[in-house]
């Protein structure tokens, strides 16, 4: 995650890389010693990747352009429900659509909502988006809860296929899957491990593609205008920039990335319900972005990962029965402590943007600072 910038690495970056390396080694050890089921580890990786996507999406809106979006859960939920309604066998509307096609259904829903909420509020000064989006997530959740003729309501949608279910080869694997080399079977993997591994591959590709896409637009003149808007919208206007158009673009892009996380979530967990749209998700994603370092794509990923580590770590700690406190209160307490820690010690986050964001290669003979 830290091999991404040319030039030297700051001690801070080295520290983070070291910590992540140690954590990876620890998890691997846990799997080898049988302490952690491989399928569960892979599931955790998928979940972290999902939070990374959500954080990167919010970072485009808040970190690049200074737009306050309190309905991360709604865009996530529309992605999840969009694909679920189209593909799930339990869908009251359609069902049976190929996940690859349904993906665009989820994204489309999120884009439409982004335009509907963005158009009136982004014309005005920034606070209006915050106010409007505050209620939006709940409106979407309650809509899904109540309109059960379309959404199956509180029962949720079951029978969502795996993302690869109708692909050639990947869709027709038989389990346990046996690895054969030259006629001799080497080892086999259970269905859950294979599915989880495929999900990890899928989400890794998505996260990498999103990251590379964002890195390019962030380092571009487009990103520069947004960063100007973030501190001073008037200044951008006086320099001839159509700030409304720039904000709208960033808002839609961010929302699409959140929806992508939702689509992936549906095909990871294979069940969605209005429960998945709770406002707490929005809260966690905000903590992730601020913790990671507002305005930094890498920071957003790190923040997303940290949130999942806390969520799952607390579950694990209480499962072992070592603590006299439930997982949920422990989790909230840890997040609370984390927030105090950020505000007191590192208000700029763990990996804030530290370098100039200038289009690569245009500085001529390498960078010299």
């Amino acid at each position: 995650m830290s091999t991404l910038d040319v030039g030297g690495y700051s001690p801070r970056e080295k520290g983070v890389a070291g910590l992540l390396g140690a954590l990876a080694a620890l998890l691997l050890l846990a799997v080898i010693t049988g302490f952690l089921a491989p399928a569960y580890l892979l599931y955790l990786v998928g979940l972290s990747a999902m939070y990374m996507l959500l954080s990167m999406g919010l970072n485009v809106q808040w970190g690049y352009g200074g737009m306050i979006n309190f309905s991360v859960a709604a865009f996530f939920g529309l992605g999840a429900y969009g694909t679920a309604l189209l593909t799930a066998s339990g869908s009251p509307i359609s069902g049976g659509v190929s996940p690859i096609v349904a993906l665009f259904g989820g994204l489309g829903l999120a884009a439409v909502l982004a335009v509907i909420i963005g158009y009136p509020t982004l014309k005005l000064r920034d606070d209006y988006l915050a106010i409007a989006s505050l209620g939006l997530a709940e409106v979407v959740r309650i809509f899904i809860l109540n309109e059960s003729q379309w959404t199956a309501g509180s029962a949720g949608l079951t029978g969502i296929p795996l993302f690869f279910s109708d692909w050639p080869v990947l869709g027709d694997l038989t389990y346990p899957y046996v690895f054969n080399v030259g006629g001799t079977s080497l080892f086999y993997m259970s269905q859950s491990v294979v599915t989880s591994a495929l999900n990890v591959v899928l989400v890794t590709v998505i996260v990498a593609a999103v990251y590379l896409f964002l890195r390019r637009i962030h380092q571009s003149p487009w990103g520069r205008v947004l960063r100007t808007i973030r501190t001073d919208e008037d200044l951008a206007e006086t320099l001839g920039k159509n700030t409304f158009a720039f904000k709208m673009q960033a808002f839609v892009i961010g929302s699409l990335i959140m929806a992508l996380a939702g689509v992936f979530y549906s095909h990871l967990v294979l069940f969605v319900s209005p429960q998945d749209l709770q406002p707490i998700t929005t809260f966690y994603v905000w903590v992730a972005v601020i913790l990671g370092g507002t305005g930094s794509d890498r920071g957003a990923m790190l923040g997303g990962f940290t949130i999942v580590a806390i969520q799952q770590g607390t579950r694990f700690m209480t499962d072992t029965g070592a603590l006299p406190i439930g997982a949920a209160p422990l989790r909230l307490m840890l997040v609370g402590l984390l927030i105090i820690f950020i505000v007191r010690l590192r208000p700029e986050g763990i990996l804030p943007p530290e370098r100039e964001l200038i289009w690569p290669d245009s500085l001529g003979g390498g960078r010299n600072e």
């Binding site: 571009s220 960063r227 008037d234 206007e237 159509n242 673009q249 100039e356 200038i358 600072e369």
Partner: protein, 270 residues
Amino acid sequence: MSEQSLVSDGPILGKEDPVLRAEGLEKRFGGLVATDDASIEVERGTITGLIGPNGAGKSTLFNLVSGFYEPDAGSVAVNGVDVTGKKPHQIADQGMIRTFQTPRKPEGMTVREALLVGPHNQTGESIIPLFTSPDTVEQEERRSLEQAQQMLERFEIGDLATQPATDLSGGQMKLVELARGMMAEPDLLLLDEPVAGVNPVLADKLAGFIEELNEEGITFLIIEHDMNFIMRLADPIIVLNQGSVLVEGPPEAVRSDERVIDAYLGGPSE
């Protein structure tokens, strides 16, 4: 007596080739009339001064012509194009760039990054070309970087290029603002109190730069309270009082005009 006749009562209108023409502008804030039937013309190639006592409505006039305030009445044209009611960015696109009375400094950027925001209609400001024609983006970016460096060197702040844009002294900030405005290649630059809070040595330098740029064809409209500065640079000078143009004329004549002195000393009896 000859001096008195040089000063026109109210604005001088009907100029040959005005870059900016504002007619009958009016702006109220509740009961307060900040701009009251103000008309001005800024002739191409001039450095036009805009002076007047505190609260005369100078900054409000800037906000009106640059599209930040919507006028209650009146019209604005830039380079002959009517821009009344247009958005600030559309007006900037017509070739008129303004600065603010309190300097604006983008956070989290180096000085040169801040300058790179200046050029209009960069290819890389649209998302699709970033992926379909990265070479064009790179070339433009290279050119802008060179231009930014030249601009900074011209204003003798080349060494600030990679400093954070927020870590500057008041005077440096004004120079950076001027440089950034120039990156947009304007026909007309509106400067709101460019030497307020700037030490006299730097103010002198700034005046020199403005003169140079003016000789290269940039038109200026400058609000300034520093009389030495504005009298040295500007001709003509427009005096605003209580929201409308009191007089307009050459600096020496305006300076000794009784109406102007009265306005500064506490306003005419009304």
